[in-house]
Symmetry: C2
Subunit: 316 residues, 2 copies
């Protein structure tokens, strides 16, 4: 049962925020790190004009706060994600791999606020100089995952628009690789000539055929893609002809998976953090290569990482 | 010096047309296959509504025709390209590989015309059922190339939106592979997150670095791409940071070239038919792999193929 505003305000200890490019999510937390309430909004980085971050934040959490905040109130707000980008609220320069959770928490920046009562901390992203790469937000999910899996050694994948594969060892993020799989899928399925070949969105068999096609190195991605169009014209009865979207997804994800599995051996653990349906597809692709991943809830990982940062910052 | 309309009309024997998706080109030809005049228009397939093809054609060549055409006049018009697609003027079903120039010419269709005086032939495209693939228009350029290089054995590349690599042997097109390189480059450079990283369009050194990066299999295309964005954020002084467009072009073309060169040996000849600047880039990429191509003018190849079709059809 949802708590009343009075109950939330009386028990509120800190606020956790994941502020992304296209939306943000917020949690009211008590002193034992339990969730009192949740909120979300589509006011991601893309929709906020100059200086609007503080107003948006205060509007969204107003119902959780005591009626009168004074200069002595310092309710902690811990934010991860694009709010710390150069074009965000206040730039939090990237930490560099290898990075431990404490290193990331120590990299917070505190924007100057117009009103009293809050103490806002924005977490840094993570970068890699050799084989240049960046993330903002996913590092906090990785920290949350590591809190629950202190002895994990292996790779953690965060599928999405810009899919990330991070190597974790001895409680540290040692390196990572980004793949533009989600964005490339979206562009090709909506705006390329392949948009005419996108019926039958969910076909596990066509998806797996495409994964195998890539795994067997039958051709480069740029060639496989055109086959989706061509098979509809010259071989309309084949697997791929009626399941263009699943085949496209299989070629794109298969290309990512084939590249990453070439870099790891079968003794290594893999975990997938993300949306359930997409994670299941990634795991289907991994199984073609003889791997099997543990699937982790994305919200739990994000919140775990924000909790860990809050604990580190409280004890500083 | 340009000929007068009267001279053109008195010497006109046939009309050659390359009717593509976004534009068309036309040539007035005399009985010795010499060019009397040229025309072009942006009325490609995409802009023509139902039934408008004959009107567009007659408008564009009106100045080349004698004043009064009768039922007995049958000026031959030979058309290649998308005019023969299902959504074109009149569908010319694909010929299948292996295909000789005579096979292609024999596959012409003749649309029913509303007015007298012309005899319109639309050439078929070419398809491949095993490893499904299609082309419409490029097969005519290949025929033109083969007319000038009767003993050629090897691969001919036609770079472009949907780049084609065709195998030619014993005067026959035996197979081909399409790569969506040009379309993928356009989508990524204009509509993906990489659009923010596209300064310095022409940097031969950055292009070649990217080609080598792919040739050395340092990573899958989907990963390399994100490096263009990331290097601008974390390593702004590297090669790729100031030359995003050349690097993107190198990754995309490099991916295509690496795939095709794995399928051929160094004894095979390669020819490139197309736009001079793009062909030069493709050849730069081929040289990284130890190949060197002959570069062929695209208009000459198109016209050569249409001439060959006209000769075959005249002698039938």
């Amino acid at each position: 049962m949802a708590l009343s505003q009075t109950d939330i305000a009386s028990r509120l200890d800190w606020v956790a925020v994941d502020w992304g490019t296209s939306n943000l999510r917020l949690w009211a937390m008590d002193a034992n790190d339990a969730i009192l309430a949740r909120a979300e909004s589509d006011l991601g980085l893309n929709k906020i004009t100059d200086g609007g971050f503080e107003t948006v934040l205060r509007d969204l959490i107003a119902g959780w706060l005591p009626d009168h905040l004074s200069q002595d109130d310092r309710i902690s707000v811990i934010i991860c994600g694009m709010a710390g980008a150069k074009q965000g609220w206040c730039e939090a320069p990237y930490a560099t791999v290898p990075a431990r959770p404490e290193t990331l928490a120590a990299g917070v920046v505190k924007p100057v606020l117009r009103q009293v009562g809050l103490d806002v901390h924005i977490l840094p992203g993570l970068c890699q100089v050799d084989d240049p790469d960046v993330m903002r937000g996913e590092e906090t999910q990785l920290v949350g995952f590591m809190a629950d899996h202190p002895d994990f050694a292996g790779w953690v994948c965060l599928p999405g628009t810009h899919s990330k594969w991070a190597r974790i060892e001895n409680g540290s993020i040692t390196g990572f690789r980004t793949y533009m799989s989600g964005e490339v899928f979206a562009l090709l399925s909506q705006q390329s000539i392949l948009r005419h070949s996108m019926p039958g969105a969910d076909d596990a068999q066509a998806f797996e055929s495409a994964i195998r096609h890539v795994a067997e190195k039958q051709g480069d991605l740029l060639h496989c893609l055109f086959g989706i169009r061509a098979s509809g014209l010259v071989a309309p009865n084949t697997d791929t002809a009626g399941a263009g979207a699943a085949t496209l997804s299989g070629y794109v994800i298969g290309s990512e998976i084939a590249d990453i599995v070439a870099r790891l051996d079968h003794s290594e653990s893999i975990a997938l953090i993300g949306d359930g349906k997409l994670s299941a597809r990634y795991n289907q692709a991994l199984r073609v290569h003889g791997f099997d991943a543990e699937i982790i809830d994305a919200e739990a990982a994000t919140l775990g990482g924000l909790r860990r940062a809050h604990t580190v910052l409280t004890n500083l």
